[in-house]
Structures are given as C-alpha cells and as structure tokens.
C-alpha cells in the first residue's frame, strides 16, 4: 500500500483536526449559553461531522481503485469498506428517526439536564475518537505497539463515556423526574425521548467497546500488518461513526431550545 503521508504528518493531521473539533465544541457550548441560535448550532454540527467523516473516517477511500485482481486483499477490503459504509448509512436512518421523533415530540424545548456534564461526556468521547485515529494511523504504518497503546486509551475513554451517560447522567435525570412517568401532557414524553436517544447511542458505544476489545486482542497476536488490517479500519470507522451520531445528539439533547422544568 502506498501512503500519501508519512507517519508523523498523519499523526499531526489528527492533532490538528482534534484541535478544530475542540474549538467547535467549545463554540457550540458558548452559543448555547449565550445567544442560543439553533441555525448556527446546526451549521457547527455539520462542520464537525464533515471533519470527522473526511479526516477520521476517510470516506474518500470509497473511491479508491484497487488493482484489477478481484482476489487480492486490497480489493476485498474495498468491498468490505463499501459494505460497512452502507451499513452505517442504514444505521443512520435509526438515529435520524429518533431525531425526527425528538423534534416532533419536544420541539424547541429540552429536558432538564446538566449542561456541564453533557459537555464533559462529549469531551471524553471526542478525545476517544482522537486516540482511535492515532491508533489506526499507527497500525497503517505498521506500528503494532503504538496501536495497542492508543487502543487501550480509546477503550477506557469509551468506557468512561458509557459510565458517564448510563451510571451518572441517567441517575441524575431520574432525580430530575424524567423517569417518574416518562412524560406528561405539558412537556411531552421528555423522559422517554431522553432515555431512548441516549440508550440507543449507548448501545452502539457498548458494541463499539466489544469490537475494540476484539481488535486489541487480535493485535496482540500480531495478525494485523500495515498492509492487512481491515479489522482495525472497520472498528475505527465504526467508532468515529458513534462519535458522529453524538455530534448531532449532544446539541439536540443539551443545547437547543428552552429549558423546561
């Protein structure tokens, strides 16, 4: 495989994108607590999503033409890549459906959630995406050791996100009365919407953690190389996809609209 970038510039690019994403996330938060413009929030989320899809998920690789030999690993990887992206496209419809339900049921109101905690879990997930990218870049340059180190960090950050949402945020939300009836005529089914959206996302994070464990375990057995590491690429793309979903769910749950108590 021919690398368009050497390792250090690839890693450097990852850092740069991470800095952009961090700035945009901070900007989002700032907008949400000051002049509350939904349209700007949407624009920021779309920019973040585009950055993640291009620089972290490498969507352009779908266009890569491998050699004519349809039995080569490279060709097979291209086929797998298309399959994975189509799967993610299909999965997007679930999240889009949830988003549509949220807009229909809650409109321009949002559940009583701690915005700082939301920012914290978002930062953790973003950071995990950053280390995922480092891990994948290491593997693409044949550095199994670097990959293993980064994937462990990714895993624990992901776990931290999961705990932050399920163990901390869900309890706090319950204390705010979101569970009690999962909705009331005045505010709509706010509890229902909050738990189904975060729950569906957390389920994807959970499966992502399993996949991370699988590739970590396999990498220890040295079955991946710079040329043949489709498993690693697949997990990376999936993990960034989970982050991508959160880029839209985070503002939808924590930032936009009027707070209803």
């Amino acid at each position: 495989m021919i690398h368009t970038q050497d390792k250090s510039s690839a890693l450097g690019q990852g850092v740069l994108i991470f800095v952009y994403l961090t700035i945009l996330t901070a900007l989002e938060f700032f907008i949400a607590i000051t002049f509350k413009s939904v349209s700007i929030l949407i624009v920021v989320a779309v920019i973040k999503a585009a950055l993640v899809m291009y620089y972290y998920m490498h969507i352009y690789k779908l266009n890569e033409n491998s050699d004519d030999d349809t039995h080569s690993y490279a060709y097979k990887t291209g086929t797998n890549r298309l399959g994975l992206w189509l799967f993610l496209l299909s999965d997007t419809f679930v999240f889009a459906g949830l988003m549509a339900a949220r807009i229909n049921l809650l409109g321009f109101t949002r559940p009583p959630l701690n915005q700082l905690l939301g920012l914290a879990v978002t930062a953790v997930l973003l950071l995990s995406s950053f280390f995922m990218n480092r891990g994948e870049t290491s593997m693409a340059h044949g550095d199994t050791k670097g990959f293993l180190n980064n994937i462990v960090i990714t895993f624990f950050l992901g776990l931290g996100f999961l705990i932050g949402v399920v163990a901390v945020e869900w309890r706090l939300a319950a204390a705010e009365g979101l569970v009690a009836s999962f909705g009331n005529p005045a505010n709509g089914p706010m509890g229902g919407v909050f738990y189904i959206m975060t729950g569906m996302h957390a389920f994807h994070v959970f499966t992502g953690l399993i996949f991370l464990f699988v590739v970590w375990n396999n990498a220890r057995k040295n079955i991946y190389s710079a040329e043949q590491h489709w498993g690693v690429e697949a997990v990376a793309v999936y993990w960034h996809f989970v982050d991508l979903v959160w880029i839209f769910f985070y503002p939808a749950l924590y930032l936009i609209g009027k707070l209803i108590v």
Binding site: F87, F93, G188, G191, G192, V214, N217
Partner: protein
C-alpha cells in the same frame, strides 16, 4: 428422522426454545427478587416474554452455527472463503450453507411455506366473511385466549404480516439465486452475512406465529398505537418478529448492492447489466435504509408498553400520528421493495419469450430507480384522513401522482417489447402476462387513492384492499411464479410440469380478478376493511360468497403449484440445456448449476437482449486453457 434432528434448522429451533426459557426465566427471577408478580395470563409476564423472544433469536443463531465463522474471526482465526458442502440432497438445505444458490432456494422454499400459512389464515377469515353475522368465529368461542372477533382480527393482521415477510423472503430468494449468476460472480460479496440474513428470518417467522398463541394482537399489520399499546402480549412477539425479519431484509439488501457494485464480470458496464439486476439494486436501496424506520417505530411502542415511555400516548404528551409517519416511511416504500423485483422479472423474461429486444432498456432501468427514489417521498398518502397537518396533504398528493410516470414507462415499454414479437406461451410467460394485467389494474386504481378528496371516501375500505392485492399480485405473486417456472430447470436440471402449470394459471388468474374487482366494488359501496362482520342491510352477502369461492379457487391453484413444484424436483422432465433459448449467461452452461457457478469466467461483449440481431452475443466465456483458477 435422526438426520433431521441434527440439522441446523432443528438445532436452531431447539436453541430458540432454550433461549426463550432462559430469557423469560431471567426476567421472572429478577421480578421475584424485586417482589413483583412472576406470572401472568400467558404464564410469563410481558417483560419476560419480550426478553425471552429476544434471547430466542440470539440463541437460534448461535446454536445453529450461522455465526460461528464470525466468532472465529473475533478470536483471530482465519476461515476459508468457501466451505466445501458437507451435505447432499435435502440435508444441504436444512443446514447452514454459504452458497448463494442454496441460500436462494432456502429463502424461496421458506417463502412458499409462509405463503401457505398466510393463505390458510386468509381462507379461515374469508370463510367467516362469506355471510353476514358471525358463523364460527363467535363471541362465546375461546381459542388462545381470544374470542371469535378477536381471533379474526389476529388472523387478519397475521395474514398481512406473514405475507409481507414471505414476499420479502421470496424477493430475497430470487435475487440471491439469480443476481450473482447474472453478474458472473462466484457468490455474493459477503457469503456469511448472506447465510446470516436467511437464518435470522427463521426465528422471526417463529416469533410471528407465537404472537397468535400468546393472546394475539387485533391491531392490523400496521399496529397503530394506542390500540397496539393496549393489545395482549402477542403484539410484543409480533413487534419482535417484524424487527428480526427486518434485519434479514436490511442485511440481504446490503449484500446485493455490494455484490452488484463490486463483483460484475469484465465488460459489464452499468448499461449492460441484465434488467433484473437494476431492479434488484433499486429494491435493495429501499430495503436497506427505510426498513430501519419500521423497526424503530415498533421498538418505540415496545418501550412504551414495557416502561411507560409515552411516545405515542396522548395522556403523557405523546403523539399517535408520529407513529404513523415513522411507520409509513418504511411501509410505503416497502411496497416498491415487493414489486420492483417482480417488475424486473417481467422485463427480464418478456424478451426471451417474445424473441425481441427489451424495448428502451435504459428507460426501463431508470424507471426502476425513479420509482424507488420517488417512493421515499410519498409515505403520508396513507394518512390523508389521519388528522396530520392539513398542509401536508397536497404535496403528498402531487408526489404520489408522480409515481405514475415511471410506472407508465414500464407498461409502454413492455407492450412495445411484445409488439411484432414471436410469442410463445409456456407457463412462465403466462404468469408474466398475467402479472402485467394484474399490475395494470392495481396501477390504474392507484390515482383515485392519490387524489386526496376521492381518497377521503376510499381510505380504509375494500377498494384499497382490492387495489393493493392487485399491485402485489401483479408486482410480486405472478412474477414470482413466473420466475420459479423459468429458473426451476437451472436449479434442478428438470422442468416443472407444463400442463399443471397452465392449470395453475387458468385457475388462479380469473379467480383473482373476480376477487379483487369484487372487493373494489363493495368497497365503494361502504364495505370497510378489517371488519369481522358487516351490516346485512348493505346486501353484500352474495358478493362476499363469490369472493370466498374465488379465494378458495386461488388456494386450490397454489396447492396445485406446490405439488407440481415438489414433485418436479425429483420427477420432472429432464432439462439440462438452454431450455428457453435465452441469451442470459446462466443458460449458456448446463443445468443444474455447478457448485462454484461458472467454471470459466465470462466477458460481456454485447447487449443483453439483442434477440434477432444475427451473430450477436451477450457474453463470451474464456477458453479453458487460459483460465488460471482451475
């Protein structure tokens, strides 16, 4: 018998039972610890049944071996690209195989079985409808915890959903068997995923049937809340079953798209693909994406029932109409999932039996894509009376009417294809022509439903019932039978009996038209859908009696087909050559198809349907000595 119990099917079903018990037991145990009631009307409580149903599916898949290769991959063990077949004869089809031809046949036979089950349900309630008043589904009867009218509602709902699942499986069956052969591929792009997609449909069918005995669900296949939020626990099994079957459809469709994009033979450009491949891609685009929304909408009702999340409960600020939007976002395009492959079969077979090129190949191919894309924008035409925002009605009327244009292109092209042809009429061709006529009736009765004001009268009546049976029979059932008669020799090396094939056709077709036209007639007069009994003052008794007789004749015709089908597998007339004198690549090699498809790769050197052009060829096989993977 002993052999049967060691097949993947039997093992899967056994593990599904165990999984159901484990899941239900787990919840029951937790409930006991929490001091909640352990049992309910149908032994387990509702949460227990739900987790049991879910575990059942997981255990089925883990137990029958369709995911074992993936578990090996997860442990870092490589598996061979193709497993050699361990089994022969019928055992091959009851075990996990990665061969797309075997999977295609598995799909097809499962679809036929489900068609029989769904048809049987239809005959039961059709019999009840033969006269006004209740004859045998009476109020004081009791079966599976349901009285007569409740049982009627359950059977009617299950007829809908089982037929839908059987159509999805039938579509997947034909696509699985035919698409790789038409492309010249060795198999689908993801053989394991392909096997998984099939096997996940089996526990789904079991769940659907379980809903019948667990109190049923009298909600119609649409499962609108709040009615479905109040239905017995059977509705949860129904939701789970549909959700599971949905995954079969999503993953199967994904596989088809990737196969078509990545595995075409040399020289097969987009505009030289057989027309059925175009139809398969169009269908798969819908099935792969929109299916998620029916899964989501049913999931939301499941959570509403289990945890009281009030998504669709007005008492909690929920919105019942939101469900309908999510539901129809899939369920309308789903209709195109059913019919596009069938229309593809019609376009594929007409040139063969007319000995003439398909008229306007590009237009027919693009019309499939056009229907698929417009299909995403029309869902709310099912909701003109639902109380949704009034301003949505006109745009959805306009988009719905637009569907008529690509559909019209197909009809005109078909007529132009047979015009001045040299037509022959084996059973396969009869079913193609029957399909066109039936789809024509279904298509022509569509615009009145699309125009809002007329639909205010027609909505939820037997007019709609007649209309969509016409479209589904024309778009799926007739072409499906045509495809089976046509490709049967390819799969078995024998052909089905022509005489009984014609009996099947001439018995089914007139009965079917009587059935649907009769339905439309009484629908206009005020016959509502989904009712167990009708007002005798409406004078529908004699019509309904005729409809019931027609229904039985269709049942008889299908029975004849089933017997012919299974008998011909071993006793049919030998047909190993190019029976239909087709240009298509799969007929250029002897039947039945070898395990790894074509021994020699082929290259596309011409147009697929150039019948009548002297010396032209569609494909050219490589010379054996040049071949390197022999």
């Amino acid at each position: 018998m002993k052999k049967f119990f060691s097949t993947a099917l039997a093992r899967g079903l056994f593990w599904q039972l165990i999984g159901t018990l484990v899941g239900a037991g787990l919840v029951t145990g937790i409930r006991v610890l929490m001091g909640l009631s352990a049992t309910d009307k149908f032994f387990f409580t509702e949460p227990a049944w739900v987790l049991g149903g879910f575990f059942g599916v997981l255990f089925f898949l883990a137990g029958n071996g369709s995911v074992s290769d993936w578990f090996k991959w997860a442990r870092g063990i490589e598996t061979p690209e193709h497993h050699e077949e361990q089994y022969t004869g019928w055992e091959k089809y009851l075990n996990v195989s990665l061969d797309h031809k075997v999977i295609g046949i598995q799909y097809t036979v499962t679809a036929l079985l489900l068609i029989c089950v769904g048809g049987l349900f239809a005959l039961i309630f059709r019999t009840e409808l033969a006269q006004s008043q209740l004859q045998f589904l009476k109020v004081d009867m009791k079966l599976f915890g349901q009285n007569g009218p409740e049982l009627y509602n359950t059977l009617m709902s299950l007829h809908g959903m089982i037929m839908i699942v059987s159509i999805l499986l039938g579509v997947a069956g034909i696509m699985n068997y035919v698409v790789p052969l038409l492309l010249g591929a060795r198999d689908m792009a993801f053989p394991r995923l392909n096997a998984f997609s099939y096997w996940i449909a089996v526990p789904a069918a079991v769940l659907l049937l379980m809903s019948l005995v667990l109190g049923g669900f009298g909600t119609g296949w649409t499962g609108y809340p709040p009615l479905s939020a109040r239905a017995p626990v059977g509705v949860q099994m129904f939701f789970l079953g549909v959700f599971t079957a949905g995954w079969s459809s999503i993953l199967g469709a994904l596989n088809v798209i990737v196969t078509v994009v990545r595995m075409r033979s040399k020289g097969m450009t987009a505009m030289r693909m057989p027309i059925f491949v175009w139809a398969s891609v169009a269908t798969s685009i819908i099935a792969m994406t929109a299916t998620q929304l029916i899964g989501l909408s049913f999931q939301l009702v499941m959570f509403q029932r289990l945890f009281g999340m009030g998504f669709f409960d007005p008492a909690k600020g929920g919105n019942p109409v939101l469900f309908q939007h999510l539901f129809w976002f899939y369920s309308h395009p789903a209709v195109y999932v059913f019919v596009l492959p069938g229309l593809g079969v019609i376009s594929e077979l007409l040139p063969v039996f007319a000995r003439k090129p398909l008229f306007g190949y590009r237009w027919v191919a693009m019309s499939s894509m056009g229907i698929a894309l417009v299909g995403f924008l029309v869902w709310a035409h099912h909701m003109f009376t639902s109380g949704m925002n009034e301003y949505l009605r006109l745009p959805f009327m306009y988009s719905t009417l637009l569907v008529a244009i690509p559909t019209g292109v197909k009809f005109f092209s078909w007529v132009a294809t047979i015009w001045k042809g040299k037509l022959t009429y084996p059973a396969a061709m009869l079913f193609v022509l029957g399909g066109i006529i039936s789809f024509l009736l279904g298509g022509l009765t569509g615009p009145p439903n699309a125009t809002v004001s007329v639909d205010l009268h027609l909505h939820d009546t037997y007019f709609i019932v007649g209309h969509f049976h016409d479209t589904i029979f024309g778009g799926f059932v007739f072409p499906f039978f045509a495809a089976l008669y046509y490709w049967f020799p390819k799969a078995t090396g024998r052909r089905m009996n022509e005489f009984w094939g014609k009996v099947h056709f001439w018995l089914m077709t007139p009965s079917f038209f009587v059935l649907t036209l009769g339905m439309m007639r009484i629908g206009l007069l005020g016959m509502r859908r989904r009712i167990v009994d009708y007002d005798p003052a409406l004078n529908f008794d004699s019509t309904h009696l005729v409809l019931t007789i027609a229904g039985y004749l269709i049942g008889l015709a299908v029975l004849i087909f089933i017997i012919n089908f299974f008998y011909s597998i071993s006793h049919g007339e030998k047909a190993e050559g190019n029976v239909w004198n087709s240009r298509s690549p799969e007929w250029q090699v002897p039947s039945p198809m070898p395990t790894h498809n074509y021994d020699q790769p082929f290259e596309v050197v011409g147009e697929p349907y150039d019948y009548g052009l002297a010396g032209s060829k569609y494909v050219e096989f490589a010379k054996p000595e040049k071949s390197k993977n022999k």
